[in-house]
Amino acid sequence: MQCEEARRRLRSGEDVEAEAHLADCATCFAVLEAGDPLAGVLRAARPEVREVPATISAGVLRRWRAPRVSWRLGLAAAASLLLVAAVLAASTVWLAPATVAKPLGVASNAFDIVATIVNGILAVPRVLFADRPAVIAGYAVLVIIVCGLWVRLYQSIAFQRRRVTR
């Protein structure tokens, strides 16, 4: 359908075919809207607010509670840090030093560092539960949960630092 025909039909009443054209035609929408005096009347009738009720500010401040970092979240994050540290220590020092590809000190780039940490974290279950993949998978899920806790804790306290480094 041509634009002119669609506009003519839309101005004179509802028309499914013409509306289908309108849905895909930015020009027809703009022309119809610009030519509709009701659009101007609507804009002119826009409600303006001159004064805000004083109860709003008082109500918000009464209901607002200063945010606090949850002690449960902090405790969980601290415990997870201990767990990760213990696993890293056990895997790199006592249990399976050979499974660690490179020591952290000589890692040449960020990828090596991450790979070394991941190797270290997974070394314990790999050595102890080599024949039980479900346990290894469960351990991996636990590590992901621990990471999630730390991300959540970071989100709740990190705004100040983000602002400074922006």
Partner: protein, 177 residues
């Protein structure tokens, strides 16, 4: 003080932060919710709720974007949620057969009458017209906010204007119907 400093104070639990943000933005949030919801009582409740939600979600705010825009985004979404939860308007609106309203009808309209007519529309049509003509939102943004395609939003806007034309024509010039 600037927005970021006020946000920072709010996050740290310093009352000066929310006080400053309220003083700076309550007018724009209240105006938006008043236009969207159509009455003072609902707008007051909504404005309070919007600020409280914003203060609770400050960890989601990215300092690289304007705080005012982030806040009005929350206000717009909240108002649409409120409108969705409202009961449908009791009276069905008979749309005008044409999008054009008689010039004589338009000449007899005042702001209050147009606002009252807009408030009589079903919530979805009312929301479309408010977002487009009172909040100056582009069609693609309106479509996104209401969860429809851009094409559907264009057609819905045309139909909403027809519905409004129907109400106005019946009220101002009943003989013309």
């Amino acid at each position: 003080m600037d927005d970021l400093a006020a946000v920072d104070l709010t996050r740290r639990g310093d009352r000066r932060g929310p006080e400053w943000l309220l003083a700076r933005y309550q007018m724009s949030v209240y105006t938006l919710t008043y236009r969207m919801l159509g009455n003072q009582a609902d707008a007051e409740d909504a404005t309070q709720e919007v600020f409280l939600r914003a203060f609770q979600r400050l960890h989601q705010y990215r300092p690289s974007e304007p705080f005012g825009g982030w806040l009005t985004g929350i206000a717009r979404h909240y108002s649409i949620d409120v409108l969705r939860q409202r009961r449908p308007a009791a009276d069905l609106v008979e749309p005008s057969s044409s999008v054009d309203v008689e010039r004589t009808v338009l000449d007899r309209l005042d702001r209050a009458r147009v606002q009252a007519a807009v408030n009589r529309l079903p919530h979805r049509e009312r929301t479309l017209l408010v977002l487009r003509y009172w909040e100056d939102q582009p069609v693609d943004r309106i479509a996104h906010l209401l969860g429809m395609s851009e094409g559907a939003a264009k057609v819905a806007l045309l139909r909403a204007r027809r519905s409004l034309a129907g109400i106005l024509t019946r009220e101002v010039a009943p003989d013309a119907v």
